[in-house]
Every structure is written in structure tokens, then in C-alpha cells.
């Protein structure tokens, strides 16, 4: 078959890659191109070079090497049985695209994934080859994220980690039964086995670098994973539980949630209704509660409705506060940091500011207003020198007072 022009293949293979939510380019080892031959730098903070109208940032050139695939996962636009146009890049073409985009400051680097062609090993070798050319032949010092294929040999995955800043393996679905039903060619044990090996390699490489300054880095930005929300029957409590187990067992940097969204030529097995995008947002919020606010997974699950799903109209932190009102109000002048972090409307930065300021003054409501984004949201849950929410915290209709009135309109 004659190859389509590059631009057309870029369209097909970018389109095929967009269901992977990850775009982070942060948290890797610092490097720059001074004293080198090529381009590229990473300085800790990731940079989003553009935003698409779906609100997602475009930080990396996110493409597939090919969307031919021997697997048949129902939720995937690239599954074998889908009637979708197919294309492939050569490793050199991906390298040229990456460098051309990078030199014009369009991107932070490359996020490369692929459909499985021939075999898992063959595919993984091709991915590693792209990273190798970029790093070794062009001395590229930007960010590289490689999707690794759990079925590939450990040795090739190891190679990937040596060139890439981040590696990731998708767990795909929150439940094993969902995986069996919707991704019949994949195996949960194999995925977790590969994640476990990657974790071991990352720890090992960090340890070696402590002792030998020139020991090679292995995926300095760690590993991440992605779960599809709403394609199987798992409720939010189950998803949160799974995510927290993944964080604990595999030292993941991030678990991404991707609300299942309609894809062209969808499989008939999938649910017809997409989950609300807000559900994905609430899951990310609960993820934050666990990672930065000291909530235990069970506490987040406690905030869920009886059906195990988080309420959509209010954020999980407010839901928790409304359920456990006996913990409030919190005295901003005396309460420990852990309790301040539980106040709806106080973020980590606001809490840090309160802790610093209260050494210098007794905080009044005006002061709190200067330190936070919205004092109206915080007010029912705190007391200051001049403010006590005497009846507010106990009001039965408090939820109604705090929920935003506007409702999203239906498509017309």
C-alpha cells in the first residue's frame, strides 16, 4: 500500500493517541542543552504550550508510532476490529517531527505510544529506537514519555527507561472483570507485574546514583498509569480504592482518569451513555485529597453517596465536611494544619499562608478573606477572632446554600 502523505498520517496517529490523558512534562531530572550538541531542557516545572478547546493542555507531541493493532480492546479506537483508517510512522519520521516542533517551541518533548504490531517485543523495540535516535544521534535533552507494553521482555522495557523521562503502563480498567470483558487480550497480573518490575528498577537506579555520580538514570520522572472511568460498572469508591492501592504498591507519580468518551466506530459492547465529564473531575479532586490533604482512601469513600459514587454537584471535600459536621467549625488561629486542610475552600497554599500569618497576628475574618480565594465558601466551617458560624454549620439546608445554583444546560 502506498504511504499517505506525512500530514495525513500525523492526523490519523494524533487522533488515535488523544484518548491517553497524560500530558505531564514535570518532575524530571533537570537538564539543559548548554555544552551539548542538540536542543532541549527540563527545569522541573512542566510547560503547557497550548490548550485545545477540550481544556486539555498540549505539552508533548502525543502520537502513536502506528495504530495497527493485533489486540481487540472494546473501548479502544485502534482495536483490531475497528473500521478506522490505519497509518504508521518510521522512527526517523517521529524524530524529525519532534525536533521540528521542539525547535519552534511548540512542545516540551515527545509522548510516544503504539498499537501492537507483529509482537509486543517488536513494537517495544521500535518505540525504544525512536528514543535512542533522539537521545544519542541528536543529543535531545527535552522530555520523553514512552508507553511501555507489559507483554514485552523486561530487557527492552529496561532500555526504554534508560532513554525516557517517564514510562507508563495503563491498567485500563478499575476492575479485573472489566478488563477480562472489555480487553480480552490483556491480563491484569501481567500489567501489575510489569509495573512492579519498573518500580524496582526506578528504586535501584536512584540508589545507584546516590553511590555513583555517573550511574545511568532510569525514568527520572517515574511511572504513571491510566484508568478508564465509566466503561465498566465500577463505582467511584472502587476506583478510589484501586488508585490508592496502585499508588501504594507501585510508587506511581500519577494515576490518570479518563472518562470514557464516545469514539468513532465504537464497539457494540460499550455503554451507550458516556459518564459526565464532571465525574472524572471529582475523581481527580479525590485523588488530590489523598495525595496532598491527608485524606485516607476510606475517608474519601465515606464522602460518597450510598451508591458508592461521589456527588457531582459538590466537590468531595465539601461532601466530606457536610457529612462530618461535628469536626467543624475549625479555629483558624489554633487548629493544627491537618484540620485546616479539611476545611472546604482552603487549599494547601492558603493553609500555608494562614499558618505563617497567625504567628504574627490573631486572624480576623478580613485577614482570612485576603488569604483565600473565596471567604464565602470557607465561612461556615471556621471561626476567627471576630467570627463564629453559630447556627450556620448546623443548618440542615447548608448544602443548598453552598451548591452553585447554575445547572449545565442540555444540548439543544
Amino acid at each position: 500500500m502506498a504511504q499517505q502523505p506525512l500530514r495525513q498520517r500525523l492526523e490519523i496517529l494524533a487522533d488515535a493517541a488523544k484518548y491517553d490523558a497524560s500530558c505531564a512534562s514535570s518532575g524530571t531530572a533537570k537538564k539543559n542543552s548548554l555544552g551539548g550538541k542538540g536542543v532541549g531542557s527540563t527545569e522541573g516545572m512542566g510547560i503547557c504550550h497550548a490548550y485545545a478547546p477540550d481544556g486539555r493542555c498540549i505539552s508533548l507531541l502525543k502520537i502513536l508510532l502506528t495504530n495497527h493493532c493485533i489486540f481487540d480492546c472494546h473501548y479502544c479506537i485502534n482495536r483490531k476490529s475497528a473500521n478506522t483508517p490505519r497509518a504508521r510512522f518510521t522512527p526517523q519520521e517521529v524524530v524529525d517531527l519532534t525536533l521540528n516542533f521542539y525547535r519552534r517551541n511548540y512542545i516540551e518533548g515527545l509522548f510516544l505510544s503504539s498499537g501492537i504490531v507483529k509482537s509486543a517485543n517488536h513494537t517495544m523495540e521500535q518505540l525504544v529506537e525512536v528514543a535512542r535516535i533522539l537521545r544519542e544521534e541528536h543529543d535531545f535533552r527535552g522530555y520523553i514519555h514512552l508507553k511501555t507494553i507489559p507483554e514485552a521482555d523486561a530487557e527492552i522495557i529496561h532500555q526504554a527507561g534508560l532513554y525516557a523521562d517517564r514510562v507508563s503502563i495503563n491498567v485500563e480498567l478499575p476492575t479485573d472483570s472489566g478488563l477480562t470483558r472489555l480487553a480480552p487480550d490483556k491480563n491484569a497480573r501481567q500489567i501489575e507485574g510489569a509495573m512492579g518490575r519498573t518500580k524496582a528498577r526506578i528504586i535501584e537506579a536512584k540508589d545507584e546514583r546516590k553511590r555513583f555520580r555517573h550511574a545511568p538514570r532510569f525514568a527520572p520522572a517515574g511511572q504513571s498509569t491510566q484508568m478508564i472511568v465509566g466503561a465498566d460498572g465500577a463505582n467511584d469508591a472502587a476506583i478510589i480504592g484501586k488508585a490508592s492501592r496502585l499508588y501504594d504498591s507501585f510508587g506511581l507519580r500519577r494515576v490518570y482518569y479518563s472518562a470514557f468518551s464516545p469514539i468513532p466506530d465504537a464497539s457494540a459492547v460499550l455503554p451507550l451513555k458516556r459518564p459526565p465529564l464532571l465525574r472524572e473531575h471529582r475523581l481527580y479532586q479525590s485523588d488530590w485529597l489523598m495525595r496532598f490533604y491527608g485524606f485516607a482512601p476510606q475517608e474519601v469513600a465515606d464522602a460518597a453517596e450510598p451508591d458508592g459514587n461521589l456527588p457531582l454537584d459538590i466537590d468531595p471535600k465539601l461532601a466530606w465536611a457536610l457529612k462530618f459536621r461535628e469536626s467543624f467549625p475549625v479555629d483558624v488561629n489554633r487548629a493544627p494544619k491537618e484540620m485546616l486542610l479539611r476545611v472546604p475552600g482552603l487549599g494547601t497554599k492558603a493553609v500555608a499562608r494562614i499558618l505563617a500569618s497567625r504567628r504574627h497576628r490573631n486572624l480576623r475574618l478580613d485577614d482570612v478573606a485576603r488569604l483565600t480565594a473565596s471567604v464565602a465558601k470557607v465561612r461556615p466551617f471556621i471561626c476567627t477572632v471576630d467570627w463564629r458560624p453559630t447556627f450556620l454549620t448546623d443548618r440542615a439546608d447548608l448544602r443548598g446554600l453552598l451548591v452553585r445554583k447554575s445547572e449545565q444546560l442540555e444540548l439543544f
Binding site: N32, S33, S41, R104, P264, A268, L270, A356
Partner: protein
């Protein structure tokens, strides 16, 4: 206080800064003024071309020479946090920033921990200025777009036009130097420009948009990428606008696509949903409803071949369900499953194995006959995986009504209809595969496969087929 000796009481001073981003100069002058104990309300800081923030009504009043601090003046102190924040805040476009910086520095001498008091209005304002400068710098890292031009000597030169809100260009040049150390590049802005040739940084005068190149062939690829990575099923315009406000759009080559992407998004999503989904309907509760439903079903293109839907047949309490691939030519004419040559062969083998066909429910994975004309003959065509998956909805409905303890799938298409994945019959045949409704699935070949074989191969396969059926018979007795 000795410093007061060379400060006449009530004197006012004006400091003219050489450049709007010259923090070092401000720091030098501010240090001297603090040492001379000049209170903040007596100093005005004037940028090039500016009028300062205090004495707008009388420009000559602040022209006094600055006092010289005495040799024994105490050193001026400031916290590390102040220095960090001040360095950023000094680049802000607010003309009052240097005055504010001086006021906070002045207060820091009496309260060294002032910067920790985040509720203090002046500290808060300073932090806000610094934050807005940091954001501007971050957006500059993100939104500068280089365009390639060839120099006379043939080397590529990357040139960008950018309009920052604050005086950040000089400070941020280092970022681009670290990133593009081996590239020749220039960033042009209305406030000044910076040029890097691979070895040295050069500063230039303010530029105009026309000075920058107006296009680059790679931008077409970038725009294609931008349009393709966008998922029309999740439109979130406000999230985009908060991070990429419209003021930046005019210098982003991809931004011109945004209006049309937004406009087309709902139509694209609706088309995907319509193409992939049936109208939501209730699952049929009886076999009669299934028969009615499949006759009206137009979910896949096979239904448009002009053939009739062939419903399953057999008792509703059947313990065994036999699933074939799809009706053939004869089945389509008769309107009953497994009546053609393959059906007759199946009947023989079932009888031989001791399975009563009339006690079993017999149906197909796909309900319509898919064929292609060859002359006057209708030639069987295999259904695609997608067609099987679409029709699975009806097969699932039949299973839910009959609840067979054993399902016998004849051929790979039937197995896919039951398991939802492509199944290798040779690997899976002859053993029970648990189904999620508690029943079990047995897989074997389709009898039409035997019809296509000849000689020894046919005999071998026929024996295997008979063996598989015998195993099912035995299992039927057990469950």
C-alpha cells in the same frame, strides 16, 4: 541618629531608574536611602518615560541629589523571601512597584519577619505582583513561537514575536538560552529584543510585529496536530480560556483554528454517538419480542441486504443453546435456523451424540443472511467482528430469557458473539468456558467447515466434532 545628619528634614527625593527592569539599580539606591533613614513617603521612583508615583503635580520638587550614607551606617537587612519576591515584582508593569518595594524594605528593618505575615496588605500586594510576573514569564516560555528563516550564510535562524505584559524579556532570555543553546534565535518584543547566536546574548531595541517573519511551513503540520489531538466529545472552552486567554491568540499559529473546532465539536460528537449507538431501548422480555425486534433492527448494514431476520427456535426452558454463525441461503428462505446442508449435517451428528435437537434452543450469532451475488447465486459472506458485536445485544437478550446451562458455539463467529473477543476454536474447543451468568460455554467448529473438507482431513475433523458433541452430551447429564 547619625544618618539624619545629611538628610534635611522634609526633603523629598526622586530616583530615576535607567531601565524599567533594573532591579540591581533599585537595590543599590534603596539600600542607601534606608541607611540614611529616608522614609518611604519622601522617595519617588521614576521609570524611563514615567512620572513616578508621588509628585505628579511638581516634577522639579524631587530633583535633589540623593543623600550619602555615613560610613558607620548599619547594614540593611532583608529576608531571603523578600529578595526572591522583589526580584520578580520589580519586573511588573505597575508604576507603583518600586515604591511598594521600598515601603516593605523599610518596614522589614523594624520587623524582620514581616514577609511571613501573609495577611498584611502590602506583603499580599507584593506577592501578587510577583505571582503575576511569574505567570507572565511562564506564559512566555509556553507561547513564544519561533519561525525559521535562512540567513545569508545558509544557517537557520529562528525568530519569534512576543508581547509580554511585564518587563520580563531580559530576565527570561536565559531560559531560552538554556533550552536552545545550539540554535541561533531572536525574540522580538515591543519593549526590546534579545538575540542569541549560539555563543553570546545580544540585546536590541524594541521591535515591531512586521520585523518578524510571517510564516513557517512546519506550522501547517502543527495546526494539523492541534486539530487532531482535540477531542470533540469533551468540549471545555472555559478551561482552555483560563489558561490560554484570548490576548495570546494573535501570536499563536494554532489559535486561528479554535472557533471552527468549537463550532464543529457538537456535530462531530453527535455523529459519533449516532453511528455507534442504537436508540436506547428496553431489553426484550420474551422470545416473541426478540423476533419482532430483530425483524425491525437496522443497526448494522447486513439488515439492508433485503433478507429476513431468522429468529431462534426451541423451548424457552431449554438447558442447551446451540449458536451458529448466521442464517444461510436456505435458512433465509425458510425463516428457520439450521435447515440447509449444514443444518442437516448438524442434525445427523446431534442424533448420533444422543442430543435431542427439539429440546435445545437453536439460534445464530448474527440474525440476517449476509451474502454477495455471484451470477444468480447468493454466496455466503462472513460477518465482520463489528457486526457480530452489534448483534450480540440480541443474543444476550435470548440468553437472558432462556438461561441455558450450556451454550454450544459452532465456529469462531458464534464464539465471538458470546465472549466478545476473537476466539481460536482449535485452542478453546472441547472444554468448558465459564460465562458470567453462571452457565458454561463449549466451542467447536461450524458443521459447514466439515462440508468444505474432503478425505482424511474431513474424517479427522468429523471425529473431533463428534467427540466435542459427545462431551457436551455428557456434561448435559451432569448439570
Amino acid at each position: 541618629m547619625t544618618a539624619m545628619q545629611n538628610v534635611s528634614l522634609g526633603s523629598r527625593y526622586a530616583v530615576h531608574l535607567p531601565a524599567p527592569d533594573d532591579f540591581a539599580f533599585w537595590r543599590e539606591r534603596a539600600r542607601g536611602l534606608v541607611q540614611c533613614d529616608v522614609p518611604p513617603d519622601r522617595v519617588s521612583w521614576i521609570e524611563p518615560g514615567g512620572t513616578g508615583d508621588l509628585f505628579a503635580e511638581g516634577p522639579s520638587r524631587g530633583d535633589k541629589r540623593l543623600p550619602v550614607p555615613p560610613a558607620d551606617a548599619p547594614p540593611v537587612r532583608a529576608s531571603q523571601r523578600f529578595l526572591t519576591v522583589a526580584r520578580s515584582a520589580a519586573l511588573h508593569s505597575d508604576p507603583a512597584r518600586f515604591g511598594l518595594l521600598y515601603r516593605v524594605l523599610w518596614r522589614l528593618q523594624r520587623n524582620p519577619r514581616l514577609m511571613e505575615d501573609k495577611a498584611d496588605p502590602e506583603v499580599r500586594r507584593l506577592e501578587e505582583l510577583a505571582k503575576s510576573v511569574r505567570r507572565d514569564a511562564h506564559k512566555m516560555h509556553a507561547f513564544v513561537r519561533f519561525r525559521e528563516v535562512a540567513e545569508e550564510d545558509g544557517t537557520p535562524h529562528f525568530v519569534a514575536w512576543f508581547e509580554p505584559d511585564h518587563h520580563i524579556v531580559r530576565a527570561e532570555a536565559a531560559f531560552f538560552m538554556r533550552r536552545f543553546a545550539n540554535m541561533r534565535w531572536s525574540i522580538l518584543t515591543p519593549h526590546g529584543s534579545v538575540h542569541w547566536d549560539g555563543e553570546t546574548m545580544r540585546e536590541g531595541p524594541p521591535a515591531r510585529r512586521e520585523d518578524a517573519p510571517c510564516g513557517d511551513p512546519v506550522e501547517a503540520l502543527w495546526r494539523s496536530y492541534y486539530a487532531s489531538i482535540f477531542n470533540p466529545a469533551r468540549l471545555k472552552v472555559s478551561a482552555m480560556l483560563s489558561e490560554m486567554p484570548k490576548k495570546y491568540w494573535k501570536n499563536l499559529p494554532e489559535a486561528e483554528l479554535i472557533p471552527q473546532l468549537i463550532a464543529g465539536a457538537q456535530a462531530r460528537e453527535a455523529a459519533m454517538v449516532a453511528a455507534g449507538a442504537r436508540a436506547e431501548r428496553a431489553r426484550p422480555a420474551s422470545l416473541a419480542e426478540v423476533a419482532q425486534g430483530i425483524a425491525a433492527c437496522r443497526d448494522c448494514p447486513i439488515a439492508d441486504c433485503g433478507t429476513r431476520a431468522v429468529a431462534g427456535e426451541g423451548p424457552q426452558q431449554a438447558a442447551l443453546m446451540i449458536v451458529g454463525e448466521q442464517p444461510g441461503d436456505q435458512e433465509d428462505i425458510a425463516g428457520r435456523p439450521f435447515v440447509g446442508p449444514a443444518g442437516q449435517l448438524l442434525d445427523d451428528y446431534l442424533a448420533h451424540a444422543g442430543i435431542d435437537r427439539t429440546a435445545a434452543y437453536v439460534t445464530n450469532a448474527v440474525k440476517h443472511f449476509k451474502f454477495a451475488w455471484k451470477g444468480k447465486q447468493r454466496l455466503h459472506q462472513s460477518p465482520t467482528a463489528k457486526e457480530i458485536d452489534t448483534c450480540r445485544w440480541w443474543l444476550d437478550a435470548e440468553r437472558a430469557i432462556i438461561r441455558p446451562r450450556i451454550v454450544l458455539a459452532l465456529g469462531a463467529s458464534a464464539a465471538r458473539g458470546l465472549l466478545g473477543r476473537t476466539v481460536s476454536v482449535t485452542r478453546e474447543r472441547g472444554r468448558a468456558i465459564p460465562l458470567d451468568d453462571g452457565g458454561e460455554l463449549w466451542v467447536t467448529v461450524h458443521p459447514s467447515y466439515l462440508l468444505r473438507l474432503e478425505g482424511e482431513a474431513r474424517e479427522a475433523q468429523a471425529a473431533l466434532f463428534a467427540e466435542n458433541l459427545a462431551a457436551v452430551r455428557e456434561r448435559l447429564g451432569e448439570v
